[in-house]
Amino acid sequence: MKILPPVSIEARRLLPSGWDVLAAILVVGFLVAFADVSRFLVHPLSSISGNYLKLDPADLPGYALRTALRMLIAMGASLVFTFTYATWAAKNPRAGSLLVPLLDILQSVPILGFLSVTVVWFLSLSPGRILGAELACVFAIFTGQAWNMAFSFYQSLRTVPEELEEAGRMFGLNAWARFWRIEAPFATPSLIWNMMMSMSGGWFFVTVAEAISVGNTNIALPGIGSWIAVAIAQQDLPAIFEAIGTMMVVILIYDQLLFRPLVAWADRFRVSSEPSSEEAPQSWALTVYRRSRLLDLITAPFLQVMRWSYYWHPPSFGLKGAVPEVNNRLSAIIWYALLTVLGVFAAWRILLFFTHANLSWNDAATAVGYGFITLARVMVLIALASIVWTPIGIYVGLRPKLTAIVQPVAQFLAAFPNNLLFPLVVSLIVFWNASPDIWLSPLIILGTQWYILFNVIAGATTMPQELRDAAENFGVRGWLWWRRVALPAVFPFYVTGAITASGGAWNASVLAEVASWGKTTLHAHGLGAYISDATTAGNFNRVVLGIIVMSFFVLVVNRLLWRPLYWYAERKFRLT
């Protein structure tokens, strides 16, 4: 199972299509509208301040539980989104031609930077109450999780083997039954894998979204993220270590009780023509669940309801959906008219926003300039991480015993919300009085470098034994071995890892380029700092500008660098 690269990578063409442009206008229009609405909501809000949060270790389990629950709720929302949005996109080609590019743009928006705006908006839904902040937090996690899950589901739906669908239709399963009995099961393994990946990213989002300040509004929801924020303000190192320890335990529990069992269970949905030689994934928790009758008791009613639902309609023996015969010219007209109205409306909102925004061309130039600085930072760090982790990954991947130990650790490190580690680094920078422009930079790659490592490990393990034997037989050694054998073999895997790492790094830059320790705040130059400062100042215009510029950078880098590299790797080096 491999990680999916972002949607932008999937297609081969370089130039944006009309649909891409429309999707971009819609997303920007949405961001702008959001900011416009929120702008007027900032002041009347009473702050939900973090002052009541005491750093008492006895409270930590409770905080951890709340943080974990937020994750679970967001995951539920992401699943609902996945099943509806992706299914719509896959089943209706007309909708799909907009919905897929829309996913691409959404995936490129560094949503962490937009947190402030969404928080204000959600708070306005229930002024003065904690609920709005909770919703905002869940929404933030959702936006970090949903896109790649939806994309994976969409891809699976598009690749269901034709003969399985035909068999289902031959036996009279209607569309609803086919979805739950054929399409959803087929998509399950890849969906679960992507849920795990989303979850990894999600821990980062939840800890950030719990404690946020917009202008004069400070919000701190009880949870590990707020704990860290308070600990930073009070320069309490032991409290930070306690939070790190607790987070590790929470992630381990999630892994053992939720994801291991899910992965082991989903193994049966894997479609493979040959009996597999790989060992099936094991989970002690799944064995426990299976042996206990409790789970059966809980799921039985749901399963029964599902079974009944297949008979709601008489089995469809008609050809509905098989050959589009209905003249749907009318619905086409309505659809395109709707899109035109939406597009024009969004464009008008964007225009309105920028004419009223008090932003000069100077501001735009500043943002773009900072964008290039952050770009350089991201690229240099990806390169550094690659130089370090690629050889190590290959070394580990070629040794099965070592892989068994290192691989889970790398995956764990990728899941660990690295912002919890920021204070440690920042305190050191403050202590040594080092240059923030250089020494804050590693933070943006701290969490995402692991994607490079574990993808390279995965690549090295799939290297055929015969290739390695052949290299040894011909005495290929040293630099030649790396250049001609090892590096090409892992290259496609490396590219996927690097794409994921670079995507995450942009998001992290919003957090990493401005970091504080107690009263000291460190500033690096960059687009992330630009967005972050605008947020603190409550200047929504600049926040929106920064977000748009950053999304643009992400998209362009994806298209011009990663997409060609990905397809080059797939074509030239894929060993299958």
Partner: protein, 430 residues
């Protein structure tokens, strides 16, 4: 007696780029009577699987009429079941659950469902495997699940889409004889069978009637009635006679078509080339030149002795015919003068013979060479030729044709091709 199935004047097209349509089935007629096994025989791409899907109600024709027991077919009909080439088992369901799937939709009581499923499993010889998952089974056992799943709904018509072609030879034979035996004993709750295959012997072994499909567009060329009692003996002279007869009919029509294509005015690049490597051609020429054939062989014999399936043998023979390295006629294949010289030549002479054959008989190769010669850079992008080909054939056929001409051009050193740059050129890589 009412016919189980009636297919009249059926026409099916697929949309192609630029609003054009590709004709896959043209004026196809077919009937299936009670107690019959009818075989649809033809090479891949002749539209026989498409016809099967029309009968199954999975697709609809653009013209003509299909009816099942007198009722027009407008969707998957109850009483028509299908066995798939790739088995199409649900990997997440056990053998029993897979077999029960068709029954669940009928909303039978659970007990009856179970009994019927177990009976079918028993009948097909899957006893003891009920709780296994498909991936734990061998190919043969998986296809047995496919049969059990189809049989359990007690269909009137069983449709089989090359059900044995993804199995190894021994397993396939074992499954065929089991099936024929069950059918002969009247143990199968089925009234008629349609079998799609490209294996001539399989058709003669199992079917009462065989319809020969010609391709481009798919048509029923002729019908051969197999008048032999079951079980049939592959070594009996009558059996061999039927096999020979089918070979003769199939090759005669193909050769005729090929010659028509080559002779057509302005005969150009529109002849689709089926991917056959120069090595395969050389291999068959060497085999033909050597004893016991000494330059001439019976196609069924050489198919059997060289362990070549018809689907492998025919394209090679056809390519040899195209290049005039051999003549195919009346179920025989005979090396031409050039073919014999090729057999005796060393590698360099072979390349030369091959290159001359390309320049004389393959307009596409001539065309590519000429374009490369005329251009100052002596190179041309792949897209240029692909677009030209797509005016005359499907995208898939165009890709295949181009792939073939690349492999032939490389062997003969007429031109070279760089896949990274997708560029044809005259130069050899430095």
């Amino acid at each position: 007696m009412v016919e189980l199935l009636n297919v009249e004047h059926v026409r099916r097209t697929f949309p192609r780029g630029g609003g054009e349509e590709l004709l896959v089935l043209d004026d196809v007629n077919l009937t299936l009577k009670q107690g019959e096994i009818v075989g649809l025989l033809g090479r891949s791409g002749s539209g026989k699987s498409t016809l099967l899907r029309l009968i199954a109600g999975l697709a609809r024709p653009q013209g003509g009429h299909l009816s099942y027991m007198g009722v027009p077919i407008e969707g998957p009909a109850q009483g028509v079941a299908m066995v798939f080439q790739s088995f199409a088992l649900f990997p997440w369901l056990t053998v029993l659950e897979n077999v029960q799937l068709g029954l669940e939709v009928l909303n039978l009581p659970p007990r009856e469902m179970r009994e019927r499923a177990l009976a079918a499993i028993d009948l097909i010889g899957l006893d003891g495997y009920e709780s296994a998952y498909p991936r734990e089974l061998s190919g043969g056992m998986r296809q047995r699940v496919g049969f059990a799943r189809a049989v359990v709904v007690h269909p009137n018509i069983l449709l089989m889409d090359e059900p044995f072609s993804s199995l190894d030879v021994l397993t396939a034979e074992n499954l065929r004889t089991d099936l024929v035996e069950l059918w002969g004993n009247g143990k199968l709750p089925i009234k008629g069978i349609i079998l799609v295959t490209h294996n001539i012997e399989e058709a003669v072994l199992m079917c009462d009637r065989v319809l020969l499909f010609s391709s481009n567009p798919g048509r029923v060329g002729s019908e051969i009635k197999i008048d032999l009692p079951q079980p049939r003996d592959r070594t009996s002279p009558q059996f061999e006679h039927y096999v020979d007869q089918i070979y003769v009919e199939m090759t005669a029509r193909r050769v005729e078509r090929l010659q028509q294509q080559q002779n057509r005015a302005g005969a150009g690049i529109e002849i689709p080339l089926v991917h056959v490597s120069p090595n395969q051609i050389a291999g068959l020429i060497e085999a033909l030149a050597a004893p016991p054939y000494d330059g001439k062989a019976d196609l069924p014999d050489i198919s059997y002795e060289q362990e070549l399936e018809v689907d492998e043998l025919f394209p090679v023979a056809e390519a040899m015919q195209l290049l005039r390295l051999a003549d195919v006629e009346g179920g025989d294949i005979r090396l031409t003068h050039m073919g014999k010289r090729f057999a005796e030549a060393d590698l360099n002479e072979r390349k030369e013979i091959f290159s001359r054959a390309l320049m004389n008989y393959v307009p596409l190769a001539v065309h590519i060479r000429r374009v490369l010669d005329e251009r100052a850079s002596h190179s041309a992008p792949r897209r240029r030729f692909l677009d030209e080909l797509e005016d005359h054939m499907t995208e898939e056929a165009a890709e295949d044709t181009l792939k073939t001409v690349v492999s032939w051009g490389r062997f003969s050193e007429l031109f070279s091709y760089d896949d990274d740059a997708a560029l044809f050129s005259l130069e050899n890589p430095t």
